[in-house]
Symmetry: C2
Subunit: 527 residues, 2 copies
C-alpha cells in the first residue's frame, strides 16, 4: 500500500526547492548545447507522439531531483493502486476507473459482483451496435428516414471532452471517409443555446443524447425538456429521437422515454468520461465505432507508458513533475496550452476543466488544509491565432507563464497551397518552432520596447497528424499528468465539491428564499 | 499637458498600498449590509447597463484612495489628450483614434490636412452603401445571383473582435428581422481552417474580405491565396468575390484585385478596430448598416461616460482602478471574464487579446523597465458552462481569481420553456446571482471538503438584453478600462512589439537559415 503524504513533508521536495532558479534557459537553449538538449530531453509517447522538454527550466540535476520526488511520493504505485480499483476518490468513497474503460492491464476490478471492465466494454459494444444500425438505416425516424444529425445534451464533463474530440476529428473523418453524421452540442441553460442549435438542424432526422450521470443535472434536464417541446411542436414523438447516457441508478434510467439507454457508473468522473458512453455514443454515431475504438486504443497505449518508473520514459509523469516544479518551486501561477492545429480548437477548454476541476483544491485527500499552492490556472487558444492575440503578454509581460505547445507535421484535410515558396502547413510548423526559441532565448535590442528577456519555459508534444490514435494518446497524456499532479499535491483529484454551493444558492433564488445581497442581486436581475 | 508617471512614484499609490486586505467581503456582503452595498456600489453605464461592484474588496475608504489615484495619475486628462489626437502611442509615434470612429466629442483631429473623423465616417458610409447594394441585389456574382455569405479573412484584431460581435448578434438579428447574410471567419494559417470554411459554404455566392492593416500579415495573405485558388478552381473570377479592408498605403490597396476596398489607418490599432472598417464591412453586410451604427452609438455613449472625473460616475475608470488595486495591492495575477449569455461565447477571447496585448508590457511608455506588475492573464467562458468546468478552482483553489460577470435579464431569441416552475432564463440569472454570493461569502461546513472560504471578489455588469447598443457599450467599457489601466501603469497600451521576434524567427525557419535548437526543432517538425 502506498503512503499518502503532503508535498511539503517530503525530503525530496525540500531538495527540489533548493534548485529554484537553477537553469537559465536563455543560456541553456543557445548554441549547440540547445540542439543537444532538443535531442536528449525528448520522450516518446504513444501513437508516434513525442514529449519534448528541452525548453523547460530543467537539467540533469533537476531531473534527478524530480525522479527522487516521484519515487518518494510513490507516483507509479499510486497509479497502480488506482487502476487496480482502490478507493482513490476519498471524499466520495469511490474507485477511479476511466483507465479500465480503455483496456487496463492490471487485475480485474470486481465491485458488487460486477466485473467493471466487462461492464464498460459491454456498454461500448451496445453503443457500437446501435450506431451501426443507425448508419445502416435499420433504426430510423417514424417516417423511415435515416438520421443525419446527433445532438449531445450535456454540460461540463458531458460536453467539453466529447465536443473537443468531435471537433478534433470532424475534418479527419471527412477526409478519410469515416464521417457518418454531423454532431451538435447543447450545454448552456441559456435558452438561446438550445434554440440556435435546433434552428440549425432538421429535428425530424436528429437523435438527441441526454447525458447526465446523476440524471439530475438541472441544465441538462432543462435542455432535454426544451428539445422535447420542440419535437412535440414539430409533430414528432420524442421517444423516437431521445437517447440517454446515464448511470443505471439515475432517474433517467428508470423511465421509458428513450429509444435506447447507455450506462456508466460513479467510478468514471465527468471530466474523465470521454472514454465512457458519454463520449462513446456520440462519437460512434458521428464517426463510426471503429474510429472511437481507435481513440481508446491510443489512450490505452499512453496509459501503459504511464506505468514506467523511469521518469525519462514516462512522459505523463515527467510533465506532471515539471509542472509541480514550475508551480511550487519557480512560483508560476498559470499554464497556457497552445495547440498548433485548428482541429484542437476546443481542446484547451477541455483541459481547462479537466485540470482546474481536478486539482483546484485547498485541502488534502484527508480534508486537511495544505500549506502550498495546488492546481494552476489553465487557458489557451490554437496557434497561430494566439500569436496575434495574448502572446504579447507571454513574451513581454511582467509574469512568466509556462507554455505547453502541441504541433503536427501534417494537416488533416490534405488540401494546401504554396505561397512565397512554402505551404501553409510549413508556415504553421515554422511558427511553433520559432515561438519556442523566441520564448526561451529572447533577444536583446537597443530599443527597450523591442527587447525580449526570454527565460519563458515551454514544452512541445510533436506528432505526425491529429488521428484517432494520436488524439487518444494526447487525451490520456493530460489526464494522467493531472492524476500524477494530484498525487504530488496529495489532493483528491476526483471530486468537485466546489461546484455545490452555487447550485444550492441558485435553487434558493428560484424559490425566492433569499435575503440580503442575494435578494438584492436577484431583484436587479428581475428574477 | 498631463504628466506621465510610473505608478510607484505616486503618493496616492503609496496610500492605496497601505489599504491592502482592508475589506473582508465575507463580512461586508453578509446580512443587510450586503444589500446596502448592492444598492450603493452600482454605477450606470450606457445603453441601460449597470456596473455593480458591491462584491469587490472595496469600501468608501478604498474608493476615496482610488479617486485620489485617478486624480494624481490624471486619468481623465490623459483620455482627453488621447481623443483630441495626442501621440499616445509613443513607441510607434502614433495617435490613438478609435473613439473618433464612433462619434467623439472633442476637437477635430486633423492629420496631414485630413479630418480624421470625416475619413472614418466616409469609410463607414462607403461600407454601408456597398452593403445596401449587396442586400438589394445590385451587386451580385457573375451569374447575377445574390451573395448569401460573407467570409472575413483576418487574424488577431482583424478576427477576434468582429467575430465576437457577429456571434453576439447573430441570433438577435434573426429574431429581429435584420439578419442579411451569414458570416464566416478564416484566421489560422493551419490550412484545415480555410478548407473547412470553404467546404461549408457556396463559394459562388460568397464575398471574402481580406483584412490586414499593413497588407503584409503572412497568415492573412496565405489564406487569401488559399481562397483565390479555390475560387479559380470553381471557375470563378476572384475579382468578383474579393474585398479588401486595409490602410491606403498598404500593398493590398495598390492592386486592382478587389471588387471594392475599404480603408482604415495607423491610428486605430488592430484590437480596437471593430469600430473601423475591420468590423464595419462584415457586420454591415451581415446585419445591415443600421445595426452596425447602433453598435457604434452604444460605444460612443459609453465613451462619453468615461470623461467623468467622479470615479463613481465613470464605470470604465472605476473598473480599471479596482483592477489595479487587485493586481498591484492585493496581488492577484489573473482575472476571469464570465458572461452569462451564450451570445457572448467568444467575447472573453476578444477581451483576452485586447487586454493582454495592450498591457502585457514590462517597460513604461518611455522604454524604462517598470518595478511593478502590469496586465494580468485574462480568461473566461460563458456561464453556466464554466460552473461545470473551472469554477471548482475559482471556489476552492489555493489562488484567488477576481471575477468579472456579465448578465442579462432577457434572452435574445425569446423562445423559452418552463421546467420545475421557472424558465431557462430565470435559471441562468439565478445562477449568476448565486455565484456572486457563493464566491464572496463562502460557507462553513463540518466536512472540510465542502467548506468554502469565500473572499473571492467579483463585479457584474447587468443589462436587459444583448442588443447592438448594449453590445457597443460593453465593448467600449472594456476598451476604456484597458486604456485607463495602461495610463495607471504608465505603459504604452497601443503597440505590440512582443509579437515581432516570433515572426522574424519563423521567416528564418522557412528560409532554412537556422542553427542550434531552432534547427533541431525545425527538423523534428520536418520543415
Amino acid at each position: 500500500m502506498a503512503t499518502w503524504k503532503n508535498l511539503d513533508t517530503l525530503a525530496s521536495f525540500d531538495k527540489l526547492a533548493e534548485l529554484k532558479g537553477r537553469v537559465n534557459i536563455v543560456e541553456a537553449m543557445s548554441g549547440e548545447n540547445g540542439a543537444k538538449r532538443v535531442a536528449e530531453y525528448n520522450t516518446p509517447m504513444a501513437a508516434g507522439l513525442n514529449y519534448n522538454y528541452a525548453a523547460k527550466e530543467v537539467d540533469d540535476t533537476v531531473l534527478d531531483a524530480l525522479a527522487d520526488l516521484a519515487e518518494e511520493q510513490q507516483l507509479v504505485e499510486k497509479y497502480e493502486e488506482l487502476y487496480n480499483g482502490a478507493i482513490i476518490n476519498t471524499g466520495e468513497g469511490r474507485r477511479v476507473l476511466h483507465h479500465l474503460a480503455r483496456r487496463q492491464q492490471g487485475d480485474p476490478v470486481i465491485v458488487d459482483g460486477v466485473d467493471k471492465r466487462k461492464f464498460y466494454v459491454s456498454q461500448q459494444e451496445k453503443a457500437a451496435e446501435f450506431a451501426k444500425k443507425v448508419h445502416a438505416g435499420e433504426i430510423t425516424n417514424a417516417a423511415g428516414e435515416k438520421f443525419t444529425t446527433v445532438v449531445q445534451i450535456g454540460i461540463g464533463g458531458s460536453d467539453l471532452g466529447p465536443r473537443a474530440l468531435y471537433i478534433a476529428l470532424e475534418n479527419w473523418a471527412k477526409a478519410n471517409d469515416t464521417f457518418k453524421m454531423e454532431a451538435k452540442f447543447i450545454s448552456n441553460v441559456d435558452p438561446d443555446d438550445a434554440a440556435a442549435v435546433l434552428n440549425s438542424i432538421d429535428v425530424s432526422r436528429s437523435l438527441f443524447i441526454v447525458v447526465s450521470k446523476s440524471g439530475t443535472t438541472l441544465e441538462t434536464l432543462t435542455n432535454e425538456a426544451f428539445v422535447k417541446d420542440a419535437l412535440v411542436k414539430a409533430g414528432l414523438d420524442p421517444k423516437n429521437h431521445m437517447l440517454a447516457a446515464t448511470s443505471e441508478t439515475s432517474p433517467l434510467a428508470q423511465g421509458d422515454d428513450y429509444l435506447e439507454s447507455f450506462f456508466m457508473d460513479d467510478f468514471i468522473g465527468g471530466r474523465y468520461s470521454s472514454s465512457s458512453v458519454v463520449g462513446g455514443v456520440v462519437l460512434s454515431l458521428a464517426f463510426g465505432p471503429d474510429v472511437y475504438a481507435r481513440i481508446l486504443n491510443g489512450a490505452a497505449d499512453e496509459d501503459e507508458l504511464a506505468k514506467n518508473k523511469d521518469i525519462r520514459k514516462n512522459p505523463d509523469m515527467l510533465d506532471a513533475l515539471i509542472g509541480v516544479y514550475e508551480r511550487n518551486v519557480q512560483g508560476y501561477p498559470t499554464t497556457a496550452v497552445l495547440p498548433y492545429s485548428q482541429a484542437l480548437n476546443r481542446f484547451p477548454a477541455h483541459l481547462q476543466q479537466c485540470d482546474m476541476e481536478s486539482n483546484g483544491k485547498s485541502v488534502n485527500r484527508d480534508g486537511e488544509p495544505v500549506n502550498y499552492v495546488t492546481g494552476p490556472i489553465i487557458f489557451g487558444e490554437p496557434g497561430t491565432n494566439g500569436q496575434h492575440s495574448f502572446y504579447q503578454l507571454l513574451h513581454q509581460g511582467t509574469d512568466i507563464v509556462p507554455l505547453q505547445f502541441v504541433g503536427y507535421r501534417k494537416n488533416q484535410l490534405g488540401v494546401d497551397v504554396e505561397i512565397q515558396g512554402t505551404t501553409s502547413q510549413q508556415k504553421l510548423c515554422a511558427n511553433v518552432a520559432a515561438q519556442i526559441i523566441a520564448f526561451a532565448c529572447g533577444k536583446d535590442d537597443e530599443n527597450p520596447n523591442k527587447r525580449f528577456a526570454g527565460g519563458r519555459p515551454s514544452s512541445i508534444i510533436i506528432g505526425d497528424q491529429v488521428t484517432p490514435e494520436s488524439l487518444g494518446a494526447l487525451l490520456a497524456h493530460f489526464e494522467n499528468k493531472i492524476m500524477f499532479q494530484g498525487f504530488l499535491w496529495n489532493v483528491n483529484s476526483f471530486d468537485q465539491e466546489g461546484v455545490q454551493l452555487g447550485k444550492v444558492l441558485a435553487t434558493r433564488v428560484l424559490a425566492h428564499d433569499t435575503d440580503g445581497a442575494l435578494k438584492a442581486f436577484s431583484d436587479l436581475l428581475d428574477i
